[in-house]
């Protein structure tokens, strides 16, 4: 491999640039929190996970080899810490919630068959959505709840892709899943949130 391309954020952090660290917090903290919430439900616990992730990031900064972007590395740390917290949390949760069926990798249709005619064309096509209501805070709360109710595999993919804004290939690497599984899970997740929005915005 060639020479490492040093990320300017990484260089600034290593040199102890406090303003650069503050800027990184502003950019990533909210996304890291949503990512932690994909694994642990309690917001206070998620906040702890994110703080611990920052500390781990600082402690490991010298060891970081820059094989992934700083962002992907940081989110990987959040995932690891959140997952281990989740395992700890899971011991005190009832069994039923752990054994919930997860069809995240299935290719079952994501749109209700009744929306189409016998020829497979729309019989009740979708409408356009009012932009103002779409971006209201009430809508955001509902979207948050819809994501929280998704099966874990879909929740982590949609959070990494659409909340944190990672590339498909980065998500595949972080979760050790194939490109195809990544897309199927993302598709199911988006389709579920879309369905909820369609109900709500009608």
């Amino acid at each position: 491999m060639g020479e490492r391309r040093d990320d300017p954020d990484l260089v600034a952090l290593r040199s102890g640039d406090e303003a650069a660290f503050r800027a990184l917090i502003q950019v990533h903290h909210g996304q890291m929190l949503r990512l932690a919430m994909a694994y642990v439900r309690d917001p206070g616990l998620a906040e702890e996970v994110v703080q611990e992730s920052w500390l781990t990031c600082l402690r490991s900064l010298e060891k970081f080899e820059g094989r992934s972007s700083l962002k992907t590395w940081l989110y990987g740390i959040v995932m690891n810490i959140a997952r281990s917290r989740r395992r700890r949390e899971a011991r005190i949760l009832p069994f039923a919630s752990l054994w919930r069926r997860d069809d995240s990798d299935s290719r079952r249709p994501t749109v209700d068959a009744e929306r189409f005619g016998g020829d497979g064309m729309w019989s009740s096509p979708p409408d356009s959505w009012p932009e103002s209501k779409l971006l209201s805070s009430e809508t955001l709360l509902r979207v948050k709840a819809a994501i929280e109710s998704l099966p874990m595999k879909q929740r982590e993919v949609i959070t990494l892709r659409d909340v944190a804004g990672l590339e498909a290939s980065e998500v595949c690497g972080l979760l050790s899943i194939s490109a195809e599984n990544q897309r199927v899970r993302l598709h199911r997740a988006r389709a579920s949130v879309r369905r909820m929005l369609e109900e709500y915005l009608r």
Partner: protein, 78 residues
């Protein structure tokens, strides 16, 4: 392609993961189908709203606490 098939390919399409031939068929269908265009617009809108979830601002106290940890770290590594 039918609408029913096209809606299941939307994410593959948005990710640029359709093979050239499928993509051509997908686009040919889309060009003449208002319903599928509306569905694609809804999927994009969904992605956009989900993206808004990260925008919560960081409480000053949290930031200050982290910066304090940063200074400690800097002190140790210097």
């Amino acid at each position: 392609m039918t609408c029913r098939q096209v809606v299941e390919l939307m994410t593959d399409y948005l990710d640029g993961a359709l093979a050239a031939e499928d993509r051509a068929r997908f686009e040919a269908h889309m060009a003449g189908c208002d319903g599928c265009q509306a569905y694609l617009a809804q999927m994009k809108a969904t992605r956009k709203v989900v993206g808004k979830l990260a925008e919560a601002s960081v409480p000053r106290t949290v930031e200050d606490e982290l910066v304090k940890a940063f200074r400690d770290w800097k002190g140790k590594s210097a």
